[in-house]
Subunit: 229 residues, 2 copies
């Protein structure tokens, strides 16, 4: 029975890695849809989020079934509970990718992002995708050093986020309020997406070391992003 148990546990782990891959792809495609005003791709990302949600529900149900059937203790219990939390982070990150895609759809045939901010948004989107790819790798490898790298990557996201807001509140801003609102929300979506990737890594660190990686903040720039800038 223990073997079947560990096989199921491995299979749940693989499901989480699949989720991370889908979510990483979603934020990449949502960013492209946004920058290129590609309606079809935006629709595609929005529709694909349902698959991520279904995958999460399935993984959760299986994790809870494992708890009921096998009644794990110690490390095994910690793995199952951590899986539940990681799947919730990934599902939420998927929602944020969908939000980006919905904004792309809303502003079609225009892009919500003015030309002078496209490079910054592209960087944020690419960084978000890399962070999620690393989070997936951390789930597979349980590599604590790699997990800690996500913190540094997230600092980079914070810098981009601040640059975005500095640009927004610059006197020379000429794109009007609606675009400012769009860009504010976009910045928040990417920042939160990155937070969830960091959170996944943090949960793996806790699993491996038994200690909360308190130096890994779940949300590094709370409140107004211009704060401390």
């Amino acid at each position: 029975m223990r073997d079947a148990y560990h096989e199921e546990l491995d299979s749940i782990g693989e499901g989480l890695v699949d989720m991370a891959r889908l979510v990483g792809s979603a934020i990449g495609r949502a960013t492209t849809a946004m920058l290129d005003a590609d309606l079809k791709m935006a629709e595609n990302v929005i529709a694909a989020d349902q698959k991520i949600d279904d995958l999460q529900r399935d993984l959760e149900a299986r994790a809870i079934a494992l708890l009921a059937r096998q009644q794990p203790v110690a490390t095994d219990l910690r793995i199952v509970v951590t899986s539940l939390r990681i799947s919730a982070d990934l599902e939420r990150a998927g929602d944020l990718a969908r939000h980006v895609a919905k904004l792309a759809r809303l502003r079609f045939p225009d892009s919500a992002v003015p030309r002078d901010l496209q490079a910054t948004i592209l960087e944020m989107g690419q960084l978000a995708q890399r962070l999620m790819a690393k989070a997936g790798e951390v789930i597979i490898t349980k590599d604590v050093d790699l997990a800690l790298q996500l913190e540094t990557d997230d600092d980079e996201m914070d810098l981009l986020h601040r640059a975005l807001f500095q640009h927004l509140i610059d006197d020379r801003w000429k794109h009007g309020i609606e675009t400012a609102v769009d860009v504010t929300l976009l910045g928040r979506y990417y920042e939160r997406f990155a937070d969830h990737a960091v959170s996944v890594a943090k949960r793996v660190v806790y699993l491996v070391t038994g200690e909360h990686a308190s130096e890994l903040q779940t949300e590094s720039t709370p409140g107004a992003p211009v704060e401390g800038a």
Copy 2:
């Protein structure tokens, strides 16, 4: 042993109700701090969030200890897993109250909210607090009808949120970009706070009925809030 078990389960439930009370109070006080530019109250909300986080960590540890020690199945297992999720929702809602307070602190001695939006923000703050009070009551009573009421209340939050954004993108907006950014973020914080209260209620419904209250959406206005307005 079963009696001690159910006592511990009840005690965890009481802890969740305490958390809901603290979080509801936090959003109320954060709103006051924001509207009155009350720095002391803002600092107070920010500091108090640590207590909410500590409470969550404690409740989580106790829920996991219960799983390990008592190995519950069926309904009892579902209660423990639901408690873990509810505590995560409440912790996150507490963070959002802290974000509002941080924005109040950042703009002190000014208020981040212009006069012509103070009434709307006050309504959003009060509604958020009522939603959380109801969520706490739902945890205690497990009243499914009351839980479903939160959905209607959340619709009201969506209307307020849309009104806020309509005001923002109105041509007559004269408060500049920085205030537009602040108000955009504030609107998002209240909306997400309400979502977490609805999510708590939804989880209780699932616990009681065994069915996902799919009519209770976790996030009712994804993407740009002006969408569909």
